[in-house]
């Protein structure tokens, strides 16, 4: 993601969509068991895929396990209040019960695949907003079928119903 933030050639339409979505959905805040600061981790040079490791191979992007967090946090940055909470989870050998920020309603009957979108070179921020500037991940982009289809049409991707609903 660090390379991507330098990219100033963000198309205007994408900014427009982002702004309109922010005005609609930006106020909804997720409360997490640990106030995970995305911005700090990205500033340290981590990429989205470093923690959400199945994003380019599976349907779900995946969340890192506590063990994965501890790979770094057992060695450095052990003092912050968030990390202290993480240490408790690690000692109790429990996973962090993260709240979901983005999800399709079951009624939407969507089988979304992250991997297909990564391989089509869709940037994370197209659908998730500028997470690198957020602390706790917030719902920045409303995932409606209109938004999906707009992008699919622009990129000449499939518009077949069965591509997502099956």
């Amino acid at each position: 993601m660090t390379q991507r933030t330098d990219d100033f050639e963000v198309p205007l339409w994408r900014l427009g969509i982002l702004l309109s979505a922010l005005s609609v959905a930006g106020a909804i805040a997720a409360v997490q068991p640990i106030e995970f600061p995305h911005n700090k981790h990205v500033a340290k040079g981590l990429d989205c895929i470093d923690c959400h490791i199945t994003v380019d191979t599976e349907a779900a992007a995946g969340l890192p396990s506590v063990r994965k967090c501890m790979l770094c946090h057992s060695k450095f940055a052990k003092t912050g209040p968030g990390v202290q909470k993480l240490l408790v989870y690690s000692k109790q050998r429990r996973e962090v019960p993260w709240e979901r920020v983005y999800m399709f309603e079951p009624e939407a009957q969507v089988k979304f695949q992250h991997a297909a979108h990564i391989w089509a070179k869709v940037e994370c921020k197209t659908c998730h907003g500028e997470v690198e500037k957020m602390t706790v991940a917030q719902l920045a982009v409303r995932h409606t079928m209109g938004r999906c289809l707009t992008c699919h049409r622009e990129r000449h991707a499939t518009e077949d119903c069965a591509a997502c609903h099956f």
């Binding site: 380019d56 939407a108 391989w119 609903h165």
Partner: protein, 234 residues
């Protein structure tokens, strides 16, 4: 996702009736893969049994010289599908890969399609599907569980087609013949079923479909099915 420059697939199936032993492994595999509700003797008696693929039995001769012949029947993915024009909400349509697709969230449950299907391979969810306790843990996450009030039918395991397409894309190659296998094809112990791309003249299914043994089920109706039955020897 650039699919314009590549020739679209046209999925089809060939079923060798000489090889089919009527073991119903395909039926069991289909139930497991596609989250089908359980069909009990009770539901069957009411005509509400769910089988996206079923084994039709034909008896020849009189007892004791009787011969049973088996024929697996699934959605024939007709090119001129009778189910499609009768749907008032376009919940069933033909996609670019020749699949006859059922869109569950569009379906309003008129059941016209099932009444117009000559093969009786469409099933209506009269009730919310329920599974006895341990079976809820084996539901396939890749397939949606259809709610009450919608029609459903064989999809040629489109979730498997999609997965294989993605894997091929990740390895920057095109799909190999035989790489996509619906659950029924994969489970057939006699290898009676062959699935593949009818647009590829070299694929196994194309060669079988063009062989002299191939016939199609109720072809005279003009439905142009994409399931080819290989005639049995006498």
């Amino acid at each position: 996702m650039d699919q314009q420059d590549t020739k679209p697939h046209r999925w089809g199936m060939a079923i060798d009736l000489d090889r089919c032993t009527g073991c119903e492994a395909c039926v069991a595999a289909c139930h497991a893969e596609n989250n089908l509700p359980l069909s009990t003797p009770d539901s069957a008696a009411k005509g509400r049994a769910f089988h996206w693929i079923r084994i039709d039995r034909y008896y020849e001769g009189a007892f004791p010289d009787i011969k049973v012949k088996f024929m697996p029947v699934l959605c024939q993915q007709c090119d001129e599908a009778p189910c499609e024009p009768v749907c008032p909400v376009y919940a069933t349509y033909h996609n670019a890969e020749g699949l006859n697709v059922q869109v569950y969230n569009r379906c309003v449950g008129t059941r016209y399609c099932a009444n117009n299907c000559p093969y009786s391979v469409r099933f209506f969810n009269w009730f919310e599907p329920v599974w006895p306790e341990p079976l809820t843990l084996q539901l396939n996450p890749d397939v949606f569980v259809r709610p009450v009030g919608v029609m459903e039918k064989c999809t040629f395991c489109s979730q498997r087609i999609k997965r294989a397409e993605l894997e091929a894309k990740q390895e920057s190659r095109s799909l190999r013949d035989g790489e996509v296998q619906p659950a029924c094809v994969q489970s057939c112990p006699a290898e009676a079923m062959v699935f593949g791309d009818l647009n590829d003249p070299a694929s196994r299914v194309s060669r079988l479909a063009q062989s002299g043994r191939a016939t199609r089920f109720m072809e005279d109706l003009g439905t142009q099915p994409k399931v080819f039955y290989l005639k049995r020897g006498e």
